[in-house]
């Protein structure tokens, strides 16, 4: 088995984990658990299929299991943040910290989708497979997440959501 196949994906797994949980050390723990699981299940990976998407699937499962077992304190703290607009004015350069803060106010489900699409640039199809949810759910989470972020960053009213088929 070729270690390098997995090792070359570590920087991207770290990027996603960092964006997902925020804290550097918790994120690297998540990456470590993901790598251990990936090694043990490597025989299940079909050569030629998308290894990166497969690794994101494993990370998602590890993350969900961990969150279920011992709810990340960070999550709870963030989920309790009131949904107030970060900025009231528009037109200025948005601050990166504001974006990060707003990202933390999203539910974990929405955050996963938005990060896999925006940062990891997976297709909706790949996100649907990685998270094991129907594509319609991917689209509705993405739509809600983006509207919420737009509202909080721009101080605008959240649009009524359209039903996505």
């Amino acid at each position: 088995m070729d270690r390098h196949l997995i090792i070359e994906h570590i920087p991207r797994l770290r990027r996603y984990a960092r964006a997902l949980v925020g804290d550097r050390y918790i994120a690297d723990d998540l990456v470590q658990d993901t790598l251990e699981r990936a090694w043990n299940k490597f025989y299940l990976w079909r050569p030629g299929s998308d290894l990166r998407a497969w690794l994101f699937t494993i990370m998602h499962n590890v993350f969900v299991n961990q969150a279920r077992r011992r709810r990340y304190e960070i999550e709870q703290a963030m989920d309790e943040l009131p949904a107030v607009a970060v900025r009231a004015t528009q037109g200025e350069q948005l601050e990166l910290q504001d974006v990060d803060r707003v990202l933390r106010t999203l539910s974990v489900e929405q955050r996963e989708v938005v990060l896999l699409v925006a940062v990891e640039q997976l297709t909706y199809e790949q996100v649907s497979r990685a998270l094991d949810i129907p594509i319609g759910t991917v689209m509705s989470r993405l739509s809600r997440a983006r509207e919420r972020m737009r509202h909080l960053l721009g101080g605008q009213a959240v649009m009524p959501l359209k039903v996505v088929k």
Binding site: P11, R15, Y16, D29, V114, V119, R146
Partner: protein, 246 residues
């Protein structure tokens, strides 16, 4: 103009529309400025999130993550530990008849196995951390029935991470872990030796990727392990030896 759906709007932001659909979408957006404004905001979110997290790609990957190996490998490590235990016991029995000069060989192997098992740990490398060094040293001293010292290796760049109690073929083992700023780890394995007190010379053993310097001093065996070259480890081993035998 055919109305566009929410899904198409997002697909457009994420660059997934075909050329034909893209032209239609652009026409739609010209006629619907509020949708155009919304998509501009989404595209900006994408760009901001990337500039926020792309820098992680350029960070050096922590050594502990590169050291993650298949657990099968760990099973080998456990098997090796049991094997070493067998050998250790074998030598003990043998020691009844022959001088037990060879016992330290299994000391090196046990130490290397313990190093291979614990050094890659990110979350639980030690049982008691260096912040409670006094408690750690007191506890391990009590269990080993001697007065232990955790060598000070900071001048060489290695800070104490902490330690744990292990079970060795000859009873309790004290295991101290050190780490340098790059995450390179060293472990010191201290175990009680059976039989007559004696001293041995400094010895070296290469156990797979782990280098080990070990010696017996009185009733105790010491082994310093690290995944590094012999000459690098020797520098540290000499300092450890001097501090333990002032």
């Amino acid at each position: 103009m055919k109305p566009v759906g929410e899904a198409e709007l997002h697909t457009h932001v994420d660059g997934g529309l075909s050329e034909g659909a893209k032209a239609e979408m652009e026409a739609w957006l010209r006629a619907h400025p509020e949708d155009a404004e919304r998509l501009r905001a989404y595209a900006e979110q994408n760009a901001l999130l990337r500039s926020l997290y792309d820098p992680v790609l350029d960070e050096p990957v922590p050594a502990a993550l590169l050291a993650v190996r298949p657990r099968v490998w760990r099973r080998y490590a456990v098997a090796a530990a049991i094997f070493a235990l067998g050998i250790g016991l074998g030598w003990l029995i043998r020691g009844q008849f022959v001088t037990s000069q060879t016992v330290p060989v299994s000391l090196a192997r046990q130490a290397a196995t313990a190093h291979a098992v614990y050094a890659p740990e990110v979350r639980h490398p030690v049982e008691v951390t260096a912040s409670e060094e006094g408690h750690l040293v007191g506890w391990l001293s009590k269990r080993l029935g001697t007065t232990l010292k955790a060598p000070k290796l900071a001048p060489l760049g290695y800070e104490l991470v902490g330690g744990r109690l292990l079970s060795g073929p000859q009873g309790p083992v004290a295991h101290f872990m050190y780490q340098d700023p790059r995450g390179q780890r060293l472990t010191l394995y201290v175990s009680r030796q059976r039989g007559e007190p004696r001293d041995t010379a400094f010895r070296f053993s290469q156990e797979d990727r782990v280098s080990v310097f070990y010696w017996v001093d009185g009733n105790f065996g010491y082994a310093l392990s690290g995944e590094m070259r012999k000459d690098q480890l020797l520098q540290v081993a000499e300092v450890v030896y001097k501090q333990l035998n002032p």
